[in-house]
């Protein structure tokens, strides 16, 4: 008895095509968004880039009154604050990941892990307001005077710690960024450490190695690529972070030798000035800053992702 309705099969096929196309279109939209970001930033930045040419990235001047703009101070601030953040957050993140994978009692593993992840969920504006009202005064009162007194006179690194303790500035922004990216670095490194086969570690312990020796000689070499990937993912975050930095950077478009002095970053310049920018060249220069930031962070994040993928693939075959 034939109960197959030919119309039914045709309808099913039609639905299938519609659904498949819809999912494909949504997936393509992700690529369209990235393309759209590139095109719109380039178009918005074009007036400034064509007016100033290459000198846009090489000049420190940023003067809305005379309509002269250069990105160097902002690039400098972005790079230096991120470097400070990485110097503090990478060792700390490594320590946290180490603690969570190797030392922590099983009972505490989840609560502490969740605590670190919650630190990552706190919105960046909260870090900003906390940095401005709590961290900056602390640094101004205790840490910065100490740095000026003891390190400010040393040769070579001394000039980095000269000048009055403002509280806000490049160093404070770096410290806030470090606290912000610490959970990202710790969480990625923890996941990366978890990919080390237990047998490798146990072989180390079986030979009489201490916990630290197992970590340094087995876990670290085995996960080197992934660790660097995790660090760069954190770096990508630090470079592009806006609100936390805007609160504590001081927004001064100049390059100072001292890291205690106020400065600016690409993202905080945009956040501070964009809605108040008058004149096409001013707005366009800010968008050009955005384009630069996009290029820098895209490169860093893309490299980080490729490294993490490489580890994932290898982890898949080794396990």
């Amino acid at each position: 008895m034939a109960i197959i309705d030919p119309g039914h099969a045709a309808r099913q096929l039609l639905y299938e095509r519609v659904f498949r196309s819809a999912t494909l279109a949504a997936a393509m939209l992700v690529l369209v968004i990235l393309g759209g970001v590139v095109v719109s930033l380039v178009r918005g930045a074009w007036p400034a880039l064509s007016h100033f040419g290459f000198s846009f990235v090489a000049r420190e001047i940023w003067n809305p009154v005379t309509d002269q703009y250069g990105a160097l101070a902002a690039i400098y601030g972005t790079v230096v604050t991120s470097l400070i953040a990485m110097c503090l957050a990478v060792p700390a993140g490594f320590g946290v990941a180490l603690f969570l994978t190797e030392l922590c009692p099983t009972l505490l593993k989840r609560p502490i892990g969740v605590g670190v992840e919650l630190l990552a969920a706190v919105p960046s504006i909260i870090y900003g307001i906390w940095g401005l009202f709590v961290l900056a005064p602390l640094l101004q009162r205790y840490i910065q005077p100490w740095l000026i007194k003891h390190i400010g006179h040393m040769p070579i690194i001394g000039p980095l710690f000269k000048g009055p303790p403002f509280g806000i500035g490049i160093l404070t922004a770096g410290v806030v960024l470090a606290i912000m990216v610490l959970p990202f670095i710790a969480a990625t490194m923890r996941d990366v450490f978890d990919t080390v086969p237990a047998m490798l570690k146990e072989s180390g312990y079986g030979l009489g190695a201490t916990t630290w020796e197992v970590i340094w000689n087995i876990v670290v070499p085995h996960t080197r690529v992934g660790m660097v990937g995790g660090m760069m993912l954190g770096l990508g975050r630090a470079l592009g972070e806006t609100m936390a930095v805007t609160f504590v950077i001081g927004n001064a478009h100049r390059i100072s030798t001292s890291i205690l002095a106020p400065g600016t970053t690409i993202s905080s310049s945009i956040a501070n000035e964009f809605t108040e920018a008058v004149g096409d060249l001013y707005t366009s220069s800010l968008i050009a800053l955005g384009l630069l930031l996009f290029i820098i962070t895209f490169t860093v994040i893309a490299a980080a992702q490729l490294m993490l993928y490489r580890l994932e693939r290898r982890g898949g075959t080794a396990a």
């Binding site: 997936a27 922590c104 919105p123």
Partner: protein, 283 residues
């Protein structure tokens, strides 16, 4: 000291440093929460939920900002999450390991970490410039763009967790993949997908940078999606940096409100995921 003693000492030193790092991290979380609670509670009052943001130097509440944040977050999720879920479905069910899905997956992972202020500039360029004024719609669009990568990623991961046997059984009954996806895979991965949605809401509801030049701010009550709209993050930004005591208090209260909401969302997402894993373990 003996070689053995030295090794043990080195071990103890590094392990203590690692413990110290963890304690520092947890201390920071506690310090931030403590500041928020002490400062925020001082600004909490009934007025917060019943009055508008005040002019400088006078008392008021955050009602318009709370409404604006809720409206734009909701709208952002409504626009962004279907796209993310569909795209995640494509990667998990159709594209799998093809070149195109690898590219989409890679670009999505990059967008997941891309600076949100860039997304704000993008929406400014394609919407605000053409419309000619700031609007809540453009703010919601910026948030939607930020929500897509989060939902895409979790949807794909969760669909991949559904046992192949379920998919095969459905196919053996003659169902097309769309039917299998809607009637078998989505229900099976439901709590996982909801987790992704919660995480996306948590991610976008605290975003400030993309709203600065899309939704801007509005001192008054406004439900007009086509005009500027107040929202908590931008109000916090503006009020915290002002010299007025009343404004600063409101900023702290808003900060507490937003953090509590986000932490609650993140914790619920984790609880949901834990229940999901327990269910799976039991089966």
């Amino acid at each position: 000291m003996s070689r053995r003693g030295l090794r043990k000492l080195k071990n103890a030193a590094f392990l203590s440093l690692s413990l110290l790092a963890t304690l520092t991290g947890l201390f920071c979380l506690a310090a931030i929460l403590w500041t928020l609670i002490t400062h925020g509670l001082a600004g909490m009052s009934g007025r917060l939920f019943s009055q508008m943001t005040p002019p400088p130097g006078s008392e008021g509440g955050l009602l318009n900002a709370i409404y604006g944040s809720a409206a734009m977050t909701l709208l952002g999720i409504l626009i962004g999450s279907p796209i993310g879920i569909l795209a995640g479905t494509y990667l998990a069910e159709y594209g799998k390991k093809s070149l195109i899905s690898s590219v989409v997956r890679f670009i999505n992972d990059v967008l997941l970490s891309a600076p949100s202020i860039i997304i704000g500039l993008f929406i400014y360029e394609i919407v605000v410039v053409h419309v000619g004024h700031f609007s809540a719609i453009s703010g919601a669009l910026a948030l939607a763009v930020l929500a897509i990568p989060v939902t895409l990623r979790t949807t794909e991961d969760m669909l991949n967790l559904v046992p192949v046997g379920m998919k095969d059984s459905s196919a053996a009954l003659g169902a097309y993949p769309w039917r299998t996806t809607l009637s078998v895979l989505y229900p099976a991965a439901r709590s996982g997908i909801v987790t992704g949605l919660l995480l996306a809401v948590a991610r976008i509801s605290g975003e400030t940078a993309p709203l600065l030049f899309t939704a801007l701010n509005n001192q008054f009550w406004s439900t007009d999606l086509n005009g500027p709209m107040a929202n908590l993050p931008v109000v916090i930004f503006q009020f915290a940096l002002s010299p007025y005591k009343e404004w600063q208090n409101l900023a702290w209260a808003g900060a507490l409100l937003i953090t509590a909401t986000i932490l609650l969302l993140s914790i619920s997402a984790r609880v949901l995921l834990a229940i999901l894993q327990m269910d799976r373990g039991a089966k």
